[in-house]
Amino acid sequence: MKIAVLQFPGSNCDQDCLRALRDGVRVEADYLWHKDRSVLGFDAVVLPGGFSYGDYLRCGAIARFSPIMKAVVSAAKDGMPVIGICNGFQILCEAGLLPGALIRNQSLHFVCQPVWLRTETAETPFTAKLEKGRLLRMPVAHGEGSYFADSQTLEILESQDRVVFRYADELGQTTSESNPNGSFANIAGICNQERNVLGMMPHPDRAWDRRLGSEDGKLLFESLVANLELAAVR
């Protein structure tokens, strides 16, 4: 089992993701460069945070056209688990693997702080070891993380149970105070209809060891590994 961490020019959480996988959950992981053209030999893909291509034009807009993304889109359509974190989420939206877009934080401030997330569904490869309602602690760090989608898309996301995480307070209430960026419906993470592609603004890669302040992020990577092991048995 081997997991790919993509590297775009300007990615800056690639090392965090690799460490979370290798040291956190002890799974084989390696980088793929944006100019690579294949994900052959890998079982899942992580798109890390950062500022791919300097965030020029729009966050993720240029990364989406890099050679590796063609391979990722096609692998995702064949069912490979793909997770985009922060800038990775923005890239997945630009690539059309996830609906909606991430726009400038309502406050205009870059937010960099720990948040509480409420797990909304365990029905993804990344949340299988969680349960609905489970609260997770991990940081956000972004200037453009306000989730936006038209009302029809939001309705579909809700009715298909595709909102995976919402910003909440420590009691699990999705208040406006606990929403760090003005996202619609406190949305922090969503998945595609087939449920194998997850995008989220908060950083599980920065919360997989007690020394980082939280181990909650590790649960997502552990879920992924368990899911891949199960798939290998089948």
Binding site: L57, R58, A61, I62, F65, C93, E94, P99, G100, A101, I103, R104, N105, Q106, S107, L108, S146, F148, A149, D150, G182
Partner: protein
């Protein structure tokens, strides 16, 4: 040949930059300003006349994000004649 692409946030999308600029203008004493929206302008220089349909494609695929933005294509040299 010059082509100008104007990209603006959709009306349905909150534009916090525009709100901040509007507030700054009000602070400067321009009380009558009602709203401001901040977009961007891209100037593309071509060696030959570009295909209109292809232009729309690149506007939809790369230069704007249709989920949150509208675009308009302008031909400044044609306008000024």
């Amino acid at each position: 040949m010059k082509v100008r692409v104007v990209v603006m946030p959709k009306q349905s999308v909150l534009d916090p930059q525009g709100v901040a600029v509007r507030n700054a203008l009000k602070d400067l004493g321009l009380q009558t300003v009602e709203s401001v929206r901040v977009g961007k302008v891209l100037e593309l220089e071509f060696t030959t006349v570009p295909d209109e349909q292809r232009l729309h494609e690149i506007c939809r695929d790369l230069l704007s994000n249709p989920v949150i933005e509208d675009y308009a294509i302008r031909y400044p040299s044609v306008v000024t004649m």
